[in-house]
């Protein structure tokens, strides 16, 4: 994909009249430059529409996976446009290159769109004001705007009345942005724009969509990951009424793009599901596969014993270990974890001879189009993608394997098709959170860490996706705290490759390293006979510093902001006073993807089982756009992490996946859901995303509390396998 860069406002924003009167703003958030560096053509598209009656329609440009961007991004536009939220209608956009990046992942939605959306809103407002001023023969500086109404002395016009004239004016290159102190939409709790549609069961999701003349399809997936179809006997399956066809789906070379399987096509999905069970498939097993979780454990143990690649080395860890005499060691481990989003994979594809229509839930609609082009050879310009509201993303739908399957099937049968996976497919072809192990070593000098040594071995996502460069990316983080805070530090990485599919899952990699680092630092605090928060504050240091962070959330982070959230959670959780009898607390903190998060978990033990009562969480994510949505993201991230921490892992029997549905793969339910209280640091700093940051910090906060409650250091997840839940 070509790099996209911001260019001048002249190319960035376009304005035109709307048929029947009114104004339409189109813009590129990031105008495209072609290979020669020239601007590619910028056309008008409907991004903000102002109708003669003054109503404003704003397109929601990014996929909605429950992170709230269908609400928060339009809020930013409405703010600078100076129109009250109740006058705004939000409509979902389709894939359109002119809208810039349309992507949901990495907690990037608000962060990367904030400034550009402000400029876009302000630019439109300025031409509306200019149009009114021109009509009155006054200076625009002497006009005021309140809620879409422009006034000058006794003159009054609303936006709709001047929209057509404004559409003829040139947009300013540098419109004046609002003083944030005067924000009335940003920072105000705003309900989800789809809320009423959700609670009344309207057709919002991918699975709810249909297209004229479509047939249904599902797939058969192998029980041993990475197997390929050797032969198919579909005789019995084809006897099921309604079944139209059964054939092999040949996976793509890169398994993250499409895996091998068998397609079952039918006139309705139930027939396809029934027939799927009757397909006799002979599978060619991968040359090497993990037979069980203990087999995997062995491979990780072998990996961690290798030399590995040194990613960062400050000072001399070995010399300090030799000098100090005592080296504290601990081995942490995390299992494969499933995305298990509630809406199973599905996609609609209609491949015609000269064009393609795609409809479905994807976090990367551009990726769906890219692969549809590769599979069919049909030009990208002839491929339209409608992306629906998504029943959970969590990184799963960054891969478009299921969309590619729908394209493959429609291309083959020459009919529009709706592909629907059942839940078993979802587990058999998930791209799991990588499993990993973390060898931690440290020495203390009094109450300070004098050397910190981390060796990471994981089932690298990069290797799995056939990329040999930078196998450590999203697996090990050389600049992760306490890097820069201790005199001697070394981070080493050794990847392994297995047949188990791996991919991004909510804070990829960070969700595992934070567990290992922050639990181990808790162990060190105990060794140093210090309160864990005092120990960590001491480690961070008194002086506020910007430390380099060459990864997602970087290029640097501020230790002062990290300390602020620690102090805030300390205060709000009542950390300094003794916990009530039978209640035990654990603490952890971390900069995550640019936001700062500190948590205190409170647990008790009932009949030997851990009960999580409450989690306190302090967050500094810069300016909060929608407090209601932000609170939900943080709360939800913690609850989700608790599910993984308590219950989640997959295992195989003779290589065959055991956990193929929710009867075996346990998820957190209402009774285990704790009270979560969230506190935001008030901040004028640029907003950071919030879909992910609270997630990783829960694991260590919880396990550190469990240690206090039980005396057991949980160094491998989930707690279930330690009989603690």
């Amino acid at each position: 994909m070509k790099e996209l860069t911001m260019t001048s406002r002249r190319n960035f924003l376009k304005i035109s009249g709307l048929a029947g009167g009114g104004l339409l703003l189109g813009f590129n958030l990031q105008s495209c430059k072609d290979e020669s560096g020239n601007l590619s053509e910028t056309e008008i598209n409907a991004f903000i529409k102002i109708k003669p009656d003054g109503t404003v329609t704003i397109m929601a440009k990014n996929p909605e996976i429950g992170q709230g961007v269908r609400t928060s991004l339009p809020m930013i536009l409405a703010e600078e446009l100076d129109i009250s939220w109740k006058k705004v209608t939000v409509e979902p956009a389709k894939l359109d290159d002119r809208l810039g990046s349309q992507f949901a992942g990495g907690s990037q939605g608000v962060k990367t769109n904030y400034e550009n959306l402000r400029v876009a809103g302000a630019a439109v407002k300025s031409v509306l004001v200019l149009a009114a001023a021109n009509r009155w023969g006054v200076k625009p500086e002497n006009c005021e705007v309140k809620d879409g109404v422009i006034t000058n002395d006794s003159n009054t016009l609303h936006y709709g009345e001047v929209a057509s004239e404004a559409a003829l004016l040139e947009l300013p290159e540098k419109p004046v942005l609002k003083d944030p102190n005067k924000f009335s939409v940003i920072g105000k709790s705003t309900k989800d724009v789809d809320l009423e549609k959700i609670v009344t069961g309207q057709k919002l999701f991918g699975l709810d969509q249909s297209i004229e003349g479509m047939v249904y399809a599902t797939v058969v997936k192998p029980e041993v990951f990475g197997s390929k179809v050797k032969s198919i006997d579909a005789e019995e399956a084809k006897k099921v009424a309604g079944v139209l066809d059964v054939f092999r789906i040949e996976g793509m070379e890169n398994p993250t793009q499409m895996m091998d399987g068998v397609a079952v096509v039918a006139t309705n999905i139930w027939s396809a599901f029934k027939a799927k069970k009757l397909v006799e498939t002979e599978w060619e097993l991968p040359s090497d596969y993990k037979s069980s979780a203990s087999d995997l454990h062995k491979s990780l143990a072998e990996g961690i014993s290798k030399k590995g690649q040194i990613l960062r080395e400050d000072g001399d860890v070995e010399a300090e270990f030799a000098r100090s005499g005592e080296v504290i060691e601990a081995l942490y481990e995390v299992p494969f974890v499933s995305h298990s989003q509630m809406e199973p994979m599905n996609f609609i594809a209609d491949v015609k001879s000269d064009k393609i229509t795609l409809i479905g839930p994807t976090q990367t609609p551009g990726g769906a189009r890219h692969y549809a082009n590769i599979i069919t050879g049909i030009d990208k310009e002839k491929i339209s993608v409608e992306f629906t509201r998504i029943g959970g993303g969590f990184g799963r739908r960054l891969m478009n394997d299921y969309a590619n399957e729908a394209v493959y099937i429609s291309h083959k049968i020459k009919k529009p098709v709706k592909l629907v996976w059942n839940r078993e497919n979802d587990f058999l072809a998930d791209y799991y959170r990588p499993a990993g192990c973390y060898q931690m070593k440290a020495s203390l000098n009094g109450q300070e860490i004098s050397a910190f040594d981390v060796k990471v071995c994981t089932t690298s996502r990069k290797l799995y996706a056939l990329q040999t460069e930078n196998a450590h990316k999203t697996e090990a983080f050389p600049d992760q705290e306490p890097a820069g805070m201790v005199p001697n530090l070394r981070v080493t990485y050794e990847p392994i490759l297995t047949n188990v599919p791996v991919g991004p899952l909510r804070t990829p990699g960070v969700n595992a390293t934070t567990f290992a680092y922050q639990c181990f630092i808790d162990e060190l605090a105990e060794k140093a006979k210090m309160d864990p928060i005092d120990f960590q504050m001491n480690m961070i240091g008194e002086e506020d510093r910007d430390l380099p962070y060459d990864d997602h959330g970087g290029p640097s982070y501020n230790t002062g902001r990290l300390k602020n959230v620690i102090n805030l959670v300390k205060e709000k959780s009542g950390w300094s006073s003794p916990a009530p009898s039978g209640v035990y607390r654990g603490f952890a903190a971390q900069m995550v993807f640019g936001a700062y998060v500190a948590q205190v978990a409170e647990v008790s033990v009932v009949s030997g089982k851990v009960k999580v009562n409450k989690v306190y969480c302090a967050v500094d994510c810069g300016r909060v756009i929608n407090p209601l949505g932000a609170n939900a993201q943080v709360q939800g991230g913690i609850t989700d992490a608790l599910s993984a921490a308590l219950y989640e892992e997959i295992d195989m029997d003779g290589g065959k996946l055991i956990h193929q549905n929710f009867d075996r793969y346990q998820k957190l339910r209402m009774k285990d859901s704790p009270d979560v209280e969230v506190f935001f640091v008030e901040s004028d700093a640029s907003p950071e995303g919030l879909g992910e940051p609270s997630y990783p910090v829960l694991f260590p906060a919880l396990c550190n509390a469990v240690y206090k409650a039980t005396g057991i250091r949980v160094r491998s997840l989930p707690l279930k396998k330690h009989n603690l839940v």
Binding site: K191, V199, L204, A241, R389, G391, G392, Q635, K667, L668
Partner: protein
């Protein structure tokens, strides 16, 4: 294939389907009532919850032939006019995140508050134990149920 006359949301709906087709797919794909969701197909996640004679059931695991003359209520028919107080409470608390599981959550909650005007935390835990929410909206669900019970 057989012909079935089903009582759904106070209407008689006629369908011709295989007798083992789960009610879920009859609702969704034969009658275009897409509010009831498919999650697991084995009655473990609750996304497909509807009411059969007022009690919550998992429509993914109930063959259409077993419905008989039972009265089915789906999210689309949960309130005769306007919104049910549970739906109102859901809006008030801004419960959903991705929203996919919420029809099922609401159907379980409606059955609870229709039969229990003052549910305790334990009542809620039990009534809602069949519904999974991957986004973790449980605290707001609990609050919304309590608010609705007081309406």
């Amino acid at each position: 294939m057989a012909n079935y006359k089903l009582k759904i949301n106070n209407q008689i709906r006629e369908v011709e389907v295989d007798d083992d087709m789960p009610l879920l797919w009859v609702l969704r794909d034969e009658l275009d009532l897409k509010g009831t969701k498919f999650g697991c197909g084995i009655a473990q996640c609750g996304a497909c919850t509807v009411h059969l004679n007022g009690s919550p059931i998992r429509s993914c695991s109930l063959p259409v032939a077993a419905v008989g003359d039972g009265e089915i209520t789906t999210i689309e028919g949960v309130s005769a006019n306007g919104l049910h107080k549970i739906q109102q409470a859901w809006i008030e608390e801004n419960v959903p995140q991705c929203g996919y599981c919420q029809s099922g959550q609401i159907m379980s909650a409606v059955a609870l508050v229709d039969g229990n005007s003052n549910p305790s935390d334990e009542d809620i835990d039990v009534a809602m134990s069949g519904n999974i929410c991957r986004c973790g909206t449980y605290p707001r669900i609990k609050k919304a149920i309590k608010n609705a019970a007081n309406l």
